[in-house]
């Protein structure tokens, strides 16, 4: 269908300066150009550097080697990789647990409540990640607001969460919440109220209605939101450095250090390429599982 509208647009434009090239060139061209220059080219460049040998003077020597990748099998880096995936999974699950009910409420609330709710969901996105991390430090720190209040109340300090994985996850959930809520809400808005009423009428209480009708129908939105959250989470740098301290480094921090401090670009490239490969692999896996599940459909369980 887009094809016909494009070709008719082209016919209309024949004769005008725009008509020299087909419409899709004008519509997609700028973005494709940006993609080629800012994504595909650098990735190609990185993958080449990643098989070069590191050299302290010239940064790298064009001598093909797999040493950068075998170095990644070092138990330290495996530990960092596993921590990164773990934080990614926990954050995504936590975001979904908080975000799905919120998305449902936003999808069903009044227009006015929606405007206010959307403001609070989107507002954190307007604050830089550094500022947000500082905000969390002020609240959660050893001498943070919570502990100070506890001391005042005579309970004493009890919250020692800063510089742990938990702190990273807390900050990341806040970052990921709008990424999950917005597509989930869009999917839920499309579910007609009559479907909920039909389910209720047939005997489904609120929880079963949610599980049997709303969740399966909103799944495409939840899945894309969860994927966005996961991808953002495992490539994070600033949040993990500020919230997790030196004991809880993630892949992003290692890459950053190799690029900026150690000046070992070949090794940094190998890590970056590995991260991209992991992301693509996991997304493909989850898409395949998702497609398989939707083909098999969600069978009713009583």
């Amino acid at each position: 269908m887009p094809k016909t509208s494009m070709s008719s647009a082209t016919e209309r434009d024949a004769g005008s300066p725009l008509g020299i090239l087909p419409a899709w060139v004008w519509l997609l061209g700028p973005y494709l150009l940006l993609l080629a220059l800012a994504l595909i080219l650098p990735i190609a460049y990185l993958s080449v550097i990643s098989i070069f040998r590191h050299d302290p003077q010239s940064m790298w020597v064009a001598a093909p080697t797999l040493a950068n990748y075998t170095h990644l099998a070092d138990s330290y880096y495996l530990q960092v990789a596993w921590r990164t995936l773990r934080i990614g999974i926990v954050t995504t699950v936590g975001t979904a647990i908080l975000g799905v009910p919120l998305a449902y409420w936003l999808a069903r609330c009044s227009r006015r409540a929606l405007a206010i709710g959307m403001f609070f969901v989107v507002m954190p996105m307007m604050v830089s990640t550094v500022i947000r991390a500082f905000g969390w430090m002020i609240i959660l720190g050893r001498n943070g607001l919570i502990n100070q209040a506890s001391v005042q109340l005579g309970i004493g300090r009890w919250l020692f969460v800063m510089n742990t994985e938990t702190a990273i996850v807390i900050a990341l959930i806040q970052i990921c919440l709008p990424l999950l809520v917005l597509p989930t809400m869009a999917a839920m808005e499309k579910i007609p109220i009559a479907l909920e009423e039909a389910g209720t009428n047939l005997g489904a209480g609120p929880l079963r209605l949610f599980r049997l009708v709303i969740l399966p129908l909103a799944m495409p939105g939840i899945a894309s939101g969860a994927m966005l959250s996961f991808v953002v989470t495992i490539s994070v740098v600033v949040t993990s450095a500020l919230m997790g301290g030196s004991a809880n480094r993630m892949i992003g921090n290692e890459i950053y250090d190799q690029v900026i401090t150690a000046m070992n670009w070949p090794f940094a490239s190998a890590m970056a390429i590995s991260l991209i490969a992991i992301v693509i692999g996991l997304l493909t896996l989850s898409l395949t599982i998702g497609r398989h599940a939707s083909r098999r459909r969600l069978r009713l369980r009583s």
Partner: protein, 366 residues
């Protein structure tokens, strides 16, 4: 399959008040076991709200709803065990036909074999045998409607609620579904409440009809009663076409009254047996277009009024022809005749003598 647990529905002084909208009620009506009962009225009359109160999607402000002797209006909607067919069908798009129909049975923890048997029986009943593996998107509008009906009937509800289920179908299909729905309801003896704004549907399908307007019941009666003896001007106007003439009663003898309009025209009409109307009362005289006899016989008979008229215009509607007539000292009258050669010949002239029997001039108070 349904029918064994059919119960009577009693709606007692139901009121639904809104902050901004017009309030509904108080409404009271009873639906007998096995009856096909319609709530008929224009949009905004409160018929859908009444249905939604029965189904439990709206909470009534006051009043009671009883089903089979049990009060249900404070029960949550998912515990009421009612069958409901929506205007939009509301089939679950992620489930196939079998799973849609079986949804209510699974929730009732009926075992798989029994569920399969009852789902198959329900699909058979609505004429969709063998389509259980289709997805709703692969079905036509009429088939989706049947699945929705099977899904509502398979739980053997004591009461089936139909919320304008036919209005999303095109005309031919609508008439066919109307007949099928009616015969199915008869066969099962399924107590049914049907909400519609379409008077033809209501007249064709119902055992009894409640006509609603602005949140109140105007009249409850059989289709014949509603059509022939409308209780109010609104009912006469809303159900079918009607000539409504404002007049004053001159004399009354039993049921027969003599009327005089403000312009001095006189005609005979009849009031209901128990009507308290008497001489000098201001009334509406209501004449159905098909009750006006066009020029066939000019013999005077008791109770018959004859007018001389001039044809204003003629509208050909196929089966029927509608003639609008100028009658001295009366408003423009609409008459409807079957399109026969004889009738066409008669309305070929400019002037026409028309007559109407007192029995066909139904008179109600203002």
């Amino acid at each position: 399959m349904a029918g064994e647990s059919n119960g009577a529905l009693d709606v007692v002084s139901l009121v639904k008040a809104y902050a901004v909208d017009v309030a509904i009620g108080p409404l009271s009506f009873s639906v007998h076991p096995g009856e096909f009962f319609s709530l008929l009225g224009p949009s905004g009359c409160g018929k859908s709200t009444t249905l939604r109160c029965i189904a439990g999607f709206e909470t009534s402000t006051s009043g009671e709803i009883h089903l089979g002797g049990e009060r249900i209006d404070r029960k949550p909607a998912y515990r009421r065990d009612l069958g409901l067919v929506f205007q939009s069908h509301a089939l679950f798009p992620h489930l196939n036909v079998n799973e849609n129909v079986g949804f209510g049975l699974k929730l009732r923890k009926i075992d798989a074999a029994e569920t399969a048997r009852r789902v198959a029986a329900a699909l058979e009943l609505v004429g969709l045998r063998g389509l259980g593996d289709r997805m709703p998107s692969q079905l036509s509008g009429g088939q989706q409607q049947r699945v929705a009906l099977a899904r509502a009937l398979v739980i053997q509800p004591p009461l089936l609620l139909l919320d304008e289920p036919l209005s999303s179908l095109d005309l031919k299909l609508r008439q066919q579904m109307r007949d099928e729905l009616k015969s199915l309801q008869r066969r099962l003896g399924q107590t049914t409440v049907f909400v519609t704004h379409d008077q033809t549907e209501a007249l064709a399908m119902s055992d009894r009809i409640a006509v609603l307007s602005a949140g109140r019941i105007e009249q409850i009666g059989t289709p014949q009663e509603i059509y022939q003896r409308p209780a109010s001007r609104f009912v006469a106007d809303f159900i079918g076409k009607c000539n409504i003439i404002e007049a004053t009663i001159e004399t009354r003898e039993g049921k027969v009254v003599r009327l005089r309009t403000a312009d001095g025209a006189t005609l005979c009409g009849r009031v209901a047996d128990d009507s308290p109307l008497k001489a000098e009362d201001r009334v509406w005289a209501m004449i159905r277009p098909e009750a006006i006899d066009i020029g066939a016989d000019k013999n005077e008979r008791p109770g018959r009024t004859i007018f001389d008229s001039i044809i204003h215009d003629i509208e050909f509607l196929g089966e029927d022809t509608q003639v609008r007539l100028n009658v001295p000292r009366l408003p423009l009258l609409t008459a409807s005749v079957k399109t026969t050669r004889a009738a066409s010949a008669r309305i070929g002239t400019q002037q026409l003598s028309i007559s109407v029997d007192a029995e066909d001039v139904y008179v109600i108070g203002h």
